[in-house]
């Protein structure tokens, strides 16, 4: 038996094994779908998580706060007069009939990084780097009441809930935690981060409003309280070495925007934004131990 062989050329444009679809179109379609679905999932999960997180109860919040605080690696300054000063200032910022949700604890951390933060359970973290930079009590009062605002609005709990959910969701899909998925984890987690960032900007604005209201309440005016950000703005424009600082402020609304917004708010509410500067104690930059050395330096 023999089979006749007829040579046949493959037609150029009709290859059944290759789908004729432009790779770029295909890519854009896929990227769009994944990004949109990720945003929807992150937003939904985020809201659910923050809603749940604010319902864990005071005892649990204290427990979680303790756990989280233990993960901080910076050395804490203990038994220093600056702590008592900050503690007093912080509690002074509360409105007359306002009670902090949980007892507040000030932790002074010995690091150059200019930062202040609040953790679940009422842990207020102040870096010595921040104390080096502030020029008046008004500035410090605004920063402290801003953090207090976050705490009273339960923001630390909400973001904790959100990050827990996002991390678990990423782990469940098998990305984000391992190095095995390359660029994929990046695309999904960037979407997640951006979603979170937007959310926390909203929280920042709320905390700013709270902060300024308390400052006005305490001093009777908002003068000098925003100087820190004015000064910071100048730094940001000029010196690049302050990149460490911008890291902290990355999730905060742009500083100029932020100042403008607060000034408009003050006009609307009829708040006085001019007033006397309340100076800081002389020893605000100095640890108890090296008082002489410190005074010599200044």
């Amino acid at each position: 038996m023999s089979i006749k062989y007829v040579p046949k050329e493959l037609p150029i444009d009709d290859n059944v094994n290759v789908t004729r679809r432009h790779p770029l179109k295909n890519f854009i379609y896929l990227l769009g779908t994944v990004v949109i679905i990720s945003i929807i999932i992150f937003v939904l999960l985020g809201y659910t998580a923050s809603w749940l997180a604010t319902r864990i109860g005071a005892d649990n919040e204290i427990r979680v706060g303790k756990l989280l605080y233990n993960t901080i690696s910076e050395t804490e300054v203990i038994d220093d007069r600056r702590i008592y000063y900050l503690d007093e200032l912080l509690h002074d910022m509360l409105d007359v009939d306002e009670i902090a949700r949980l007892p507040l604890t000030i932790h002074l951390l010995d690091t150059e990084i200019v930062n202040a933060a609040i953790m679940p359970g009422g842990h207020v973290l102040i870096n010595t780097g921040l104390l080096q930079k502030v020029k008046s009590e008004n500035e410090l009062a605004f920063i402290l009441s801003h953090e207090l605002g976050h705490f009273q609005h339960q923001d630390p709990l909400k973001s904790l809930g959100r990050s827990l959910v996002v991390v678990s969701a990423l782990a469940a899909v098998g990305i984000g935690t391992s190095s095995s998925s390359g660029g994929l984890s990046d695309i999904v987690s960037w979407t997640g981060e951006l979603t979170i960032l937007h959310y926390s900007r909203n929280q920042e604005t709320k905390a700013d409003e709270y902060g300024l209201a308390r400052v006005i309440n305490h001093y009777g005016h908002g003068g000098h309280s925003l100087d820190f950000f004015n000064g910071f703005q100048k730094f940001e424009d000029g010196e690049r070495q302050l990149s460490q600082v911008s890291q902290y402020f990355a999730s905060h609304p742009e500083n100029q925007e932020r100042i403008d917004y607060l000034n408009t708010l003050a006009v609307q509410k009829g708040w006085n934004m001019e007033g006397e500067l309340t100076s800081l104690p002389d020893w605000i930059h100095c640890p108890d131990m090296d008082e002489e050395q410190c005074e010599a330096e200044n």
């Binding site: 094994n17 790779p23 660029g183």
Partner: protein
Amino acid sequence: MENILQISLVLFLLILGYFFGSYREKRHFRNLQLREKQVLNMPIANIGRNLPADITETKLVVGIVVISIDYFKKISAMLRNLVGGRITVYESLLDRSRREAILRMQEEAMEWGASQVLNVRLETVAIGGRFGGKTDPGSIEVIAYGTGIK
């Protein structure tokens, strides 16, 4: 800052992968078209029984090819993994590999002076990285082999 760096690295790799990848792919397809014409008269079949009675000589002929995927294809495929469906960017890769491997086998057979190649088989294997290795882009290997007869 770190994120910006990461994003630009991924974008850079994507663009590099897309332009180099599609340039090479187009060139390869053109090349395949040309060479396939030259072996058009070399019959191949994947049956091995009822051999012609006048065979004087046989030889095992083999064609192997390994083609690497590029970053663009890799990311496209990963995204596709999330939503399901046909990974079209890999289809062209597999088609190129298959045709190239068969061509090489036919070219070997022609050089040896075969009149046809029978009992042709195709095997494929993924080398390295497989699906989603971070450092290893992954690649596909296709082996075509058959019995050349004179």
